[in-house]
């Protein structure tokens, strides 16, 4: 199986703070891969570094066989798109859904915009009726659907998902997770997904990497995690915490 994303010895430094301390990772084509960790573990930074949104100090990133330089070209963004955590902050408040979806099409010079917008909205379960609404007229779940539609409209092969449901209610989260699984199956996408929630990662991903303070703690398959076959104490702690509060009397 070919690798969709290969990260090797990646270092990210903000001023003097080392956010990533030499992280390596391989995501196979068509796979769904999870990054788990607590705040400050560097999981989001890793995702942003791949998207070209974090200052890479050293190490290499290869996407679909092409090693990336400091700048991403247009072709890269045809292949890789990102969905952000906060659906309230990631959509332009003064643009309609239609305008939001047209922007990536205009940048990449697609001619059949009309049809693509209709299809993208349809695919994420929003009818054409949502096309001329503004973000503030939508609920959190609907906004996240628009963000997913915007990511899918260029037909990328890789989707980077940064906590795509943590700002949503539990029932809406289920809907969005189902939608993501469905589009992945239909379009044979590769997912690289960040979450602090082990349950979501085991639900969505086949393999995962646990991170802590800028370093990889361990690599696991979802099945290993479910069976509690973990070797690191940190992962065991996370697992215990995900089971809820236990009274020690």
């Amino acid at each position: 199986m070919t690798a969709a994303i290969t990260v090797d010895g990646l270092e990210v430094i903000f001023d003097r703070f080392r956010a990533l301390k030499g992280v390596s990772l391989e995501v196979r084509s068509g796979e769904s891969f999870g990054l788990v960790g607590e705040s400050g573990s560097g999981k989001s930074t890793l995702l942003r570094a791949i998207a070209g949104l974090a200052p890479v100090a050293s190490g290499s990133i290869t996407v679909n066989g092409k090693t990336l330089g400091a700048r991403r070209d247009k072709a890269f963004y045809r292949e890789v798109q990102m969905v952000f955590q906060d659906p309230y902050g990631s959509l332009h408040p003064r643009q309609t859904v239609d305008r939001l979806l047209q922007e990536p099409l205009a940048i990449h010079g697609f001619a059949d915009g009309e049809k693509r917008i209709e299809r993208a909205l349809d695919e994420v379960g929003l009818g054409n009726g949502f096309r001329f609404r503004y973000a503030h007229q939508l609920s959190g779940g609907q906004r996240q659907r628009v963000a997913i539609a915007r990511a899918l409209i260029l037909e990328p092969s890789i989707l980077l998902l940064d906590e795509p449901t943590s700002a949503l209610d539990a029932s809406v989260q289920a809907e969005v997770l189902n939608l993501l699984e469905e589009v992945r199956r239909r379009r044979k996408l590769t997912f690289l997904m960040v979450s602090h929630d082990l349950a979501i990662i085991t639900h969505m991903c086949e393999r995962l990497m646990v991170m802590q303070s800028g370093e990889a703690v361990e690599n696991l398959t979802a099945a290993q995690l479910v069976a509690h076959r973990v070797t690191e104490d940190y992962t065991r702690n996370l697992l215990r915490a995900s089971e809820g509060f236990v009274r020690t009397a």
């Binding site: 289920a174 085991t202 915490a241």
Partner: protein
């Protein structure tokens, strides 16, 4: 069990340009010296219920209730001054995010001392001693150092412990915790809950724990109230959550992914208009 708080038919209404919005629509429950969870999704009215009890509803909103009594005191009948004397003293509240709920330009120690000296006549030296003891009680290892730190200098977990210390220093009988751990990392979350749990049971306080996380609440509380669209749809013992009757409660429990329970796709909530009726 003696009743600490009695709520009957509580309503909170907000006037808007398009008419009245009823955030809380006839909520009734009572609280003894126990841990009561209020669970619901955004817009269910759970936070507004807590704020109405605390007396922190925005001034433009209207509150009405057949009964809203704390230890026999009619909370809607007393003057703002009397209400203020209760707040922070006999009734305390912990908010979600210590980054926003602590005063950013005041050291943590001074904030705790301020709370204490507002409600009790104690000397500065004694207030300082008690604040340090309280910081120790919430398991802050080096209370003397933390006393002089400002909120931006501490982590989220530490900030939330300081918040708990501040809320407990006047020895309240009832505590309202509105999503006290939602802004924290999972492992820190359990530490903070453990501290809260021990202090609440040691002091025999009544606790109202407001959260969106049904499973967390049921592992922490004795009793759970489930709210939907401003109403209570179900009240049950936390231990009997598995036998929940209302389809909303069951749907909410079901729709969360769980480790070791493979379900693709996840069951989603099918919202029925009659739930909100």
């Amino acid at each position: 069990m003696s009743t600490l708080l009695d709520v009957e038919d509580l309503r909170v209404t907000f006037p808007t340009r398009t008419g009245l919005i009823e955030a809380v629509r006839g909520v009734s429950f009572s609280l003894g010296r126990e841990r009561l969870g209020i669970v619901g999704e955004s817009g269910s009215g759970k936070s507004q219920t807590g704020r109405a009890i605390m007396g922190l509803t925005p001034p433009q909103a209207r509150i009405s209730a057949k009964k809203l009594a704390f230890d026999g005191i009619d909370l809607l009948g007393i003057s703002p001054r009397e209400r203020r004397a209760l707040r922070g003293n006999r009734i305390a509240m912990i908010l979600q995010d210590p980054k926003y709920s602590l005063d950013p330009v005041m050291s943590i120690g001074r904030q705790i001392v301020e709370t204490l000296r507002t409600h009790e006549k104690v000397s500065k030296a004694e207030a300082r001693e008690r604040a340090l003891a309280m910081l120790e009680a919430v398991q802050i290892r080096d209370p003397k150092r933390v006393f002089d730190l400002h909120p931006h200098e501490v982590s989220g977990g530490m900030g939330q412990r300081a918040m708990i210390a501040m809320m407990l220093i006047a020895g309240p009988e009832m505590m309202i915790a509105d999503e006290p751990t939602s802004a924290l990392d999972v492992t820190v979350q359990l530490d903070v809950l453990g501290i809260l749990d021990r202090l609440v049971s040691d002091r025999g306080m009544g606790l109202i724990f407001i959260s969106h996380d049904l499973r967390l609440v049921s592992s922490f509380c004795d009793r759970v109230i489930v709210m939907y669209a401003g109403k209570v749809v179900e009240q049950l013992k936390a231990s009997e959550l598995g036998q929940a009757q209302h389809p909303y409660t069951r749907g909410l429990l079901n729709c969360m992914p769980r480790i070791g329970f493979e379900r693709h796709p996840l069951p989603v909530l099918d919202r029925k208009p009659e739930w909100a009726a």
